[in-house]
């Protein structure tokens, strides 16, 4: 080993501080950084084995271009000339709305910000989003609806300090192992906190719970309304806090009134006694920490249900205090940065697209006409971008660092869109993927450890990741690729100077700091110098909203909010009339039955989810021998009772079919509640001989999304199962 290089792990949203070991110009290992506030030196299986091992396998090392239907190797100049030529041609003929950008939760802050400025001030397209729509959109939406702006209220230390921990649709032991280890410290230590878990599966997390509520998929909102009602009914409300710091209590109270324990039990098929026990734990504990993830975010009424978690904390006044608060979790490691910098479509710095002053600020900063910056409607969400591409009005789609051909719902449709003749697809990645196979131009990208940049974890902690080694072959950093595109496109500001004024990661970071000045996510105190050595550093105070003052003032907030049932926007006038002035919103919504229901033909409800050993579509983790061995193949998990009734034993190969497609996988008898089956979503087909379409869970999933966050409903597909 020659040297250690400071970094942080990019294989889940926990973002553990780590060092990369370098020997002879190659990465040879990692270690956790003991002084880091996030992980105290720990690393999980993905971090230990998936972060660096894949780097020297079958990488993309040269640009590819499609010639006569086949991808062939080419040089950078040819590839970029083709991209720029198509881009300019389409802009001239069809305008900026012909362009869409679909990015990732894997790039660095500097890359997202650069991409955001290119899209908004260079091209001027509203069509920018990414994979984070599938993982973290509801976290952002729920924070905006309740508190006026994105920004994680709680911090990791709250795990150490809480006396009750609620996990809502969050299998932390599979998704954030190091965070879970911190919880295990508490569970095995003195003053064990009480734990409540909401999950239709009996996960390891659920097994450690004092109360496990396993509602039927699609009924979270009914359950949450029941919890809120019980807390109000039993007088566990901090009325003084509610009066001084919130709006909407009366409407919340009347909305949840019908959700008696018996009524909720009937809808969700949970025990009314357990529901009341959970409410009592929430209502009587002094310090409550809640975490929320995909079981809520990727399900029916996602934003509404996630807002009810915020509501529970608001009505008890348990937010912004040591051990008390909400962690609306992120899925991917750098998802927070795409939300902050606007590569997901939001305006940078948590600015409000519907606030003319905020648009003017950006126009001044970038020295462009405010009309260039698209702000006539909310930014186009991912599912709508794909729809426009399907309909042919988006003709240029640039995909960076993600794999929609495996991760999006209803994959047969996505393959058809990516293969369309009138859609020019640029795919930028470190590895050949199911998506790059369908692209017109493939750009080889440098990965973590091969480039410099920062990223921010789920608790707002920013880490600097230094370049440890050179990228393989001709691969370039995503930042360099975007800078090259901007320069070739000749984007200029109003003074005739180049629109993008930075040349490297630190320059991009400094430009971003200026953009964030005075906004809730203010990075002006942070520099590369400060981030070197020691621990990662959070933006903002340790906990947000300690003073009960929320970023809801009309001229400051990130969003004016929505009707939770339909997604109808609150107008600026309506918003101002409520005079929120720093008070949080107690948003309410009744439960609506989901459209997709189990029925006579498709009697089971299928949820999809994660394995502890893989990240996303296994692009990296599937190339690590240890992780590959640990979870080599997809499976379907079902309850012992359902398996017995269908006559299936462990390992029997079955077909799981929905209206949209099918998968062929072995049965694993396990943790599901009756009537519910589970498929891991990681498995595509880059590593099998045949087309492999029977492996991917998203062959089955449906094209539908939450009305507010626009996050697709991966957790709710009606399926049938038969022996293959």
């Amino acid at each position: 080993m020659d040297r250690w290089v400071q970094s942080a792990c990019v294989l889940c949203s926990n973002g553990c501080g780590c060092d990369i070991a370098v020997k002879d110009g190659r990465m040879v290992g990692v270690r956790g950084r003991a002084e880091d506030i996030v992980n105290h030196g720990r690393l999980g299986p993905k971090g230990l084995f998936g972060s660096w091992q894949a780097h020297r396998t079958d990488r993309l090392t040269q640009p590819l271009i499609r010639r006569h239907g086949v991808l062939v190797e080419t040089d950078w100049d040819t590839a970029m000339s083709e991209v720029v030529h198509r881009s300019q041609e389409l802009l001239a003929e069809f305008g900026s709305s012909s362009h869409g950008f679909y990015t990732s939760g894997q790039l660095f802050l500097e890359e997202y910000y650069t991409l955001g400025v290119i899209g908004k001030a260079g091209i001027g397209t509203p069509h920018m989003d990414g994979n984070t729509r599938l993982c973290t959109a509801t976290a952002a939406a729920a924070l905006k609806e309740s508190f006026g702006s994105d920004g994680q209220p709680a911090c990791h230390t709250d795990i150490d300090l809480c006396d009750a921990l609620f996990l809502f649709g969050h299998n932390m032991a599979a998704t954030q192992t190091v965070m879970w280890a911190r919880v295990l410290d508490r569970l095995a230590g003195p003053d064990r906190p009480r734990v409540v878990v909401v999950d239709p599966r009996r996960t390891p997390v659920a097994e450690s719970a004092d109360v496990h509520l396993a509602p039927l998929p699609g009924t979270n909102q009914a359950l949450m309304n029941g919890l809120v009602r019980a807390v109000i009914e039993h007088g566990w409300v901090d009325h003084d806090y509610v009066h001084r710091h919130t709006l909407g209590f009366d409407e919340l109270k009347s909305t949840v009134e019908p959700y008696t324990p018996e009524h909720v039990a009937e809808i969700c098929r949970v025990s009314p006694v357990d529901l009341l026990r959970a409410a009592e734990i929430f209502g009587t504990s002094q310090r409550v920490l809640s975490t929320v993830l995909q079981g809520f975010y990727q399900s029916h009424q996602a934003t509404a249900a996630s807002c009810q978690v915020n509501n529970l904390h608001l009505i008890r006044g348990l937010i912004g205090r040591p051990g008390s608060g909400v962690l609306q979790m992120n899925g991917q490691p750098t998802a927070q940065n795409t939300r902050e910098t606007g590569a997901n479509g939001d305006l940078p710095g948590f600015r409000n697209w519907d606030n003319e002053q905020h648009v003017q600020e950006l126009a001044r900063l970038w020295k462009v006409d405010p009309l260039t910056i698209p702000h006539w409607a909310p930014p186009t969400h991912a599912m709508q971008i794909w729809r426009y591409a399907e309909q042919g009005s988006i003709k240029f789609l640039w995909i960076s660092a993600t794999n929609p051909a495996v991760s999006l719902p209803e994959l047969s449709r996505i393959r058809a869109i990516l293969s369309k003749k009138d859609l020019f697809v640029v795919a930028q990645d470190g590895f050949p993927t199911e998506t790059t196979e369908l692209a017109d131009v493939v750009l080889p990208a440098a990965l973590w450890g091969e480039k410099q940049g920062t990223f921010t974890n789920l608790s707002r902690v920013v880490h600097l990741s230094e370049q440890a080694v050179e990228p393989p072959g001709e691969a370039r950093s995503d930042l360099d690729i975007f800078l090259d595109y901007a320069s070739r496109m000749g984007f200029r500001d109003r003074d005739g100077d180049p629109l993008i004024k930075w040349k490297d990661a630190e320059g991009a970071f400094d430009a971003w700091r200026e953009c964030s000045r005075g906004r809730p996510c203010d990075y002006t105190e942070l520099t590369y110098e400060k981030l070197r050595g020691g621990s990662g550093i959070a933006w903002g105070p340790e906990r947000l909203y300690a003073d009960g003052h929320f970023p809801t003032a009309a001229d400051y907030c990130e969003d004016y909010g929505h009707d939770l049932l339909t997604g109808a926007q609150t107008t600026p006038t309506e918003y101002k009339a409520q005079r929120p002035d720093g008070r949080a919103f107690l948003k309410a919504a009744e439960y609506l039955p989901p459209h997709e229901q189990a029925n006579a033909t498709y009697p089971f409800l299928c949820t999809t989810g994660r394995s502890v050993y893989h990240f996303h579509t296994r692009t990296k983790t599937g190339r690590s021998p240890e992780l590959r061995r640990a979870a080599p193949e997809p499976w379907v998990e079902m309850s012992p009772e359902d398996a017995a009734e269908l006559g299936f034993g462990d390992g029997d190969v079955v077909l799981v079919e929905s209206e949209r497609g099918s998968v062929k996988v072995p049965v694993r008898i396990g943790r599901c509640r009756g009537g519910v089956v589970f498929l891991p979503f990681h498995y595509g087909y880059w590593d099998v001989e045949h087309d492999g379409h029977e492996r991917a869970a998203n062959e089955l999933t449906l094209t539908e999304w939450d009305p507010v966050s626009k996050q697709p409903l991966f957790k709710l597909s009606a399926v049938r199962i038969r022996r293959a």
Partner: protein, 153 residues
Amino acid sequence: MHLATYLGLLHGSLRTLAGAFREVAKGHGEEPDVASTCQVLAKRLDGQVEKLGPIVERYGEHRESEPERLHAAEFEQTRSGGVGLLRDLQDLYALASFTDITWTVVGQAAQGLRDKELLDVVSSCEKDTARQLAWLKTRMKQSAPQALIASRE
């Protein structure tokens, strides 16, 4: 008293609007958010019709002799494509505005009559009527630029 005439108008137009939302849901299944939201709004309109039932029983309802200018049947042929969606949503907006103002007029009569039951019905339906219009406007604002500028269908 002409309240019965207006109750007839309201009763009829709520049913028409519910039917129209259902037709648009059916015709635009490829826009899943439009389809699902239209279904949700149609179902809630059924609830409004139900709430109005006892009032109609009390006052009766007259059907106007003048020719009807709003027909749900016209929604059976939904349009296609980006502009088609926009036009269908715009027709829904016109119909929803009609019921909205009809509620307002009925509400005024309820105030004059000091009819507590009718006032409660009006106020409980106000939010849903506003919700229909707000959603239609939101969705149309979102679709308009793409449909009118970028689309070449």
